[in-house]
């Protein structure tokens, strides 16, 4: 199915110019300062100049950067781009680190059998040139590219594929990817037919099929087999590993790592990829990845031309200055559309979680969640939290997931009066005339909403929820905690009333998120790892999702998932409010990017990115 949501809203500013300032002259050397201190007049001039400088820059007088118009818009080989990450990778071994920086390293230096085109969501060949599926859909035979070699010159064969799966599934490897490449919790069976053919057998019918292989880097057996045999694979390719000991099949090799500062990736001369016109990929000679922990500094560097792009979306606070830079032709600002992920509020629905608590009579009731959905003004959240760049969400999927979003999702109106009526129906009324509701025991209707501190999206949304619920007589105590405390509360200890957080799904295909949907799942956050479904509607979702994941009929899969979303919207185990729009920006010297909503939005296909040089 064709899918182009990521590009629909993309817009380009007028062709701009290069704002690169690495070589600008330094005209305020420290030595001048001491020279100037020799005379009293000079001291005054220095101080006044400093103050004037502050004042003038504060007033927004922007010196024009040195412009150099792009010579051509067709991508050609050569040049470099500078991008950024907020923190260093934890390791160079993708199996040992789940952080986005480690993922970026793997994306640049390793290749996979197949790749999900993040812009179209279609599966594309990568190291596997083609594949055929058996009649029962359980076995896939993949033809590997011939003549492919690792960055160290060693040939790539099916043995590397078998090794990569084996090492991921080996418990001694402690691989973070093991779960992601399983079908309903069971390992795939991978076998080499010959040097250039492998078979992949699924243990159960599994509709997402090869999509799950998008995460698995194919590693060099000749480099890592010894570590795997010695049981030290988890520690292999750490940050202190000499760079020449690593090899990959990706478009770049890590050629320089300056701890705390940057990673430099150079062209892999053996990379297999070619452009449609036969040009050997990657286009770029180099990608420099700067470590910039502070987002403000990151945006300023992008704005001033010292960065070509970021590896994540821009925060909405940064939109205005980057829009100005885009209007001046220094940047290209792209609206990638609605995010498929949204923050959500959910209650602790674990049976017995409120045993002995007088609130047990009402805090886990569907009516309470439906009332909250009616009472909270989603538009206010979109305007306040996302500065207008968000769309209301009423179900499990956002409109950003155009493939699987149920278009008939009922839209809950902002209706505080209806919310009050709904609460009255479960005995929550204002019994003492103070404007706040009390339950049948005359106890106030009150709960604690935890969220992560330091995350403005969560904190602002929690504040709006508190204010909106106060208007219908429900008291909410917001507690902003450290991320680990929040997760400890709702995940490890499961002792909480309600939480605002984000349960990000790994892929837009619901079949790849069984842990979220199945009542037995470890990401079924409102009531984790149930032995048997706690409610009838969860039991029904289990049944529907089991069929949805097993079905090979796309139409049937959609029908089943629509029904799942309908049940979800009725019972609201998670209340979604707003999904943000995703914006990214890059310098006008960057060419040939294919933007996508998923991170890294501009660099998910690094081999085809080019730059004016």
């Amino acid at each position: 199915m064709s899918h182009e949501h990521a590009c629909l809203h993309a817009k380009s500013s007028s062709a701009g110019s290069l704002a690169h300032s690495f070589d600008r002259p330094t005209f305020w050397p420290v030595s001048q300062l001491s020279t100037r201190l020799r005379s009293r007049t000079s001291i005054s001039i220095t101080l006044l100049a400093l103050l004037a400088l502050v004042a003038s820059t504060g007033c927004g007088s922007t010196p024009q950067p040195e412009h150099a118009a792009p010579a051509a818009h067709n991508p050609t080989r050569g040049g470099e781009i500078v991008t950024s990450i907020r923190s260093e990778p934890q390791t160079f071994n993708r199996h040992s680190g789940r952080d986005t920086s480690t993922n970026l390293v793997a994306l640049l230096t390793q290749a996979r059998l197949v790749r999900i085109n993040q812009a179209t969501q279609q599966l594309e060949p990568a190291l596997a040139e083609s594949w055929t599926t058996s009649a029962d859909g359980l076995t896939v035979t993949m033809a590997l590219r011939r003549g492919v070699v690792f960055s160290d010159g060693q040939p790539f064969t099916s043995a590397d594929v078998v090794f990569s799966f084996a090492v991921a599934y080996d418990p001694k490897s402690a691989s973070q990817l093991a779960d992601s490449i399983q079908a309903l919790g069971k390992n795939l069976t991978v076998a080499a037919v010959d040097d250039h053919t492998v078979t992949i057998a699924f243990p159960v019918p599994f509709a997402p099929g090869l999509r799950i292989l998008d995460v698995l880097p194919i590693l060099p057996r000749h480099k890592l087999e010894a570590a795997a045999k010695a049981g030290t694979f988890a520690k292999a390719w750490g940050l202190t590993t000499p760079l020449e000991e690593m090899a990959g099949l990706g478009p770049f090799v890590l050629s320089n790592y300056q701890p705390g500062q940057r990673l430099i990736f150079s062209r892999n001369p053996h990379y297999y990829g070619k452009a449609a016109d036969g040009t050997e990929l990657p286009y770029l000679d180099r990608i420099v990845v700067e470590v910039i922990p502070d987002q403000n500094a990151e945006v300023l560097r992008l704005e001033s031309g010292q960065l070509d792009m970021m590896t994540s979306e821009i925060s909405l606070d940064a939109y205005a200055p980057l829009k100005r830079a885009a209007d001046q032709g220094r940047l290209t600002l792209l609206d990638l559309g609605v995010s498929p992920n949204a923050d959500a509020l959910w209650f602790n629905l674990k049976p017995g979680a409120f045993a002995g608590d007088p609130r047990a009579a009402w805090i886990q009731r569907d009516e309470l969640r439906r009332a909250i959905s009616l009472a909270v003004d989603r538009k206010a959240i979109a305007d306040t939290v996302f500065l207008g760049a968000g769309v209301p969400v009423f179900g499990a999927e956002t409109p950003g997931n155009t493939q699987w979003y149920w278009t008939a999702t009922p839209e809950t109106p902002h209706d505080p009066a209806a919310a009050r009526q709904l609460l009255a129906s479960i005995g929550l009324t204002d019994r003492n005339g103070d404007g706040m509701l009390e339950d049948a025991r005359n106890a106030p209707v009150r709960f604690t909403l935890i969220t992560q501190k330091g995350r403005p999206n969560y904190e602002r949304a929690a504040a709006i929820v508190r204010e909106d619920l106060k208007k219908i007589g429900v008291a909410v105590d917001v507690a902003a905690l450290d991320v680990s405390q929040v997760i400890d509360a709702f995940y490890t200890k499961q002792k909480y009333d309600a939480v605002i957080y984000n349960a990000i799904k790994t892929d837009i295909d619901p079949g790849t998120n069984p842990d979220f949907w199945f009542s037995s799942g470890s990401a079924h956050v409102w009531n984790l790892r149930q032995k048997t479904p706690a409610t009838d509607w969860e039991k029904r979702i289990d049944e529907l999702m089991a069929r949805q994941i097993a079905s090979r009929d796309e139409g049937e899969r959609h029908q089943l998932y629509d029904e799942v979303q309908k049940i979800f919207a009725e019972h609201l185990p998670m209340i979604y409010f707003v999904a943000p729009r995703v914006y990214v920006a890059h310098s006008t010297r960057v060419l040939n990017v294919t933007p996508a909503v998923a991170r890294p939005q501009l660099l998910w296909r690094p081999d085809t990115v080019a730059a004016v040089h």
Binding site: R40, Q90, R98, D179, K235, R262, V291, S484
Partner: protein
């Protein structure tokens, strides 16, 4: 004097142990740990359980602390969970970067603050001393966080200096020093300017006290040029109070200016500590805290020794106190 130094060194050691132990225990006592977020993000529970065990997070806090302390006394602070490498090496790497920044900022602050303080303190009234005082008060009222944001903003708008980092990716080997100096401008000014303002105010106050002393008036009455009296005789006497607080300044700056390092992406101890705290990397938190405390203790000790050299009464006082 030797006993005095020995006692100070012992105190420094105690300070390091206390600070790092407190950091370790606080990081362990807070709910959750380094791996909590990974679990919620869908990490393999068995793999994470093994990782927890490897880093001792499955032990009781008391047992974990005892094991860590036993290693720490041998200068083995454990492996960072964040970077999966020994904390000691990481700390040494980043502490060197912090030291470069701190020494530059201190030199800058001293070079700016002291002369301006002498000048402003030796004058009664006048436009220029007033302007200096006003500028100092302005800078003093601005926290380094704000100063660094302002300087980064100026650097971004003007393009005069690099906004962030310690070295350019494209710096030629011959221009490495110049490249480092260019990168130092923004962070060292961000730390150094408020310090310069503080030194200026302290020095001006001390100088204005000294300038009315009889020995200064006598020198002036004897016809010694005012400039010579101020910059030689009065300055020497007015330096004592500055030397007294200099150690604290040295220690504070060396122990890391978190905000400045984060905003300017300076790969130092402060940025590392912040990262460690956010990630709940217990070993790294304790290691960074130990390094910070060590810097503070050494800075204070060096300053006290310098003060003793400038003003022998200080060391006599210390010796007397010790004897008592």
């Amino acid at each position: 004097m030797t006993r005095y130094v020995a006692r100070r060194l012992a105190f420094a050691g105690l300070l390091v142990v206390c600070v790092s132990s407190a950091s370790f225990l606080l990081a362990r006592l807070a709910p959750g740990d380094f791996f909590t977020e990974s679990i919620a993000a869908g990490g393999n529970p068995e793999a994470l359980a093994r990782a927890r065990a490897r880093f001792g997070l499955d032990k009781s806090i008391a047992a974990h602390y005892r094991d860590w302390l036993a290693s720490a006394v041998r200068f083995d602070f454990g492996d960072s969970m964040l970077y999966d490498r020994p904390v000691r090496g990481l700390i040494a790497e980043r502490a060197a970067n912090t030291a470069v920044l701190a020494v530059t900022a201190l030199a800058l602050a001293t070079a700016i603050g002291l002369p301006l303080g002498v000048f402003a303190g030796s004058r009664r009234g006048g436009l220029l001393p007033g302007a200096i005082r006003a500028a100092s008060l302005l800078l003093l009222s601005m926290p380094p966080l704000l100063t660094s944001l302002l300087l980064v903003f100026i650097a971004a708008r003007t393009g005069w200096f690099p906004i962030a980092g310690m070295r350019s990716a494209s710096a030629a080997p011959s221009g490495v020093t110049l490249d480092l100096i260019r990168h130092l401008v923004v962070p060292s000014l961000a730390i150094g300017l408020p310090l310069a303002a503080m030194l200026e105010r302290l020095q001006a106050q001390a100088m204005s006290d000294v300038i009315g002393e009889p020995f200064v008036l006598a020198a002036l009455a004897r016809g010694v040029p005012r400039r010579r009296v101020v910059w030689r005789d009065a300055l020497k006497a007015a330096l004592r109070p500055i030397a007294g607080v200099y150690g604290l300044i040295v220690g504070t700056v060396l122990s890391g200016s978190f905000a400045v390092e984060v905003i300017t992406a300076w790969p130092g101890l402060g940025a590392l500590m912040l990262q460690a705290l956010r990630a709940r990397d217990v070993y790294l938190v304790a290691g960074c805290a130990a390094a910070g405390a060590l810097f503070l203790a050494v800075g204070t000790l060096a300053s006290d020794l310098a003060l003793a050299l400038v003003d022998p009464r200080a060391s006599e006082g210390a010796a007397a106190a010790e004897a008592a």
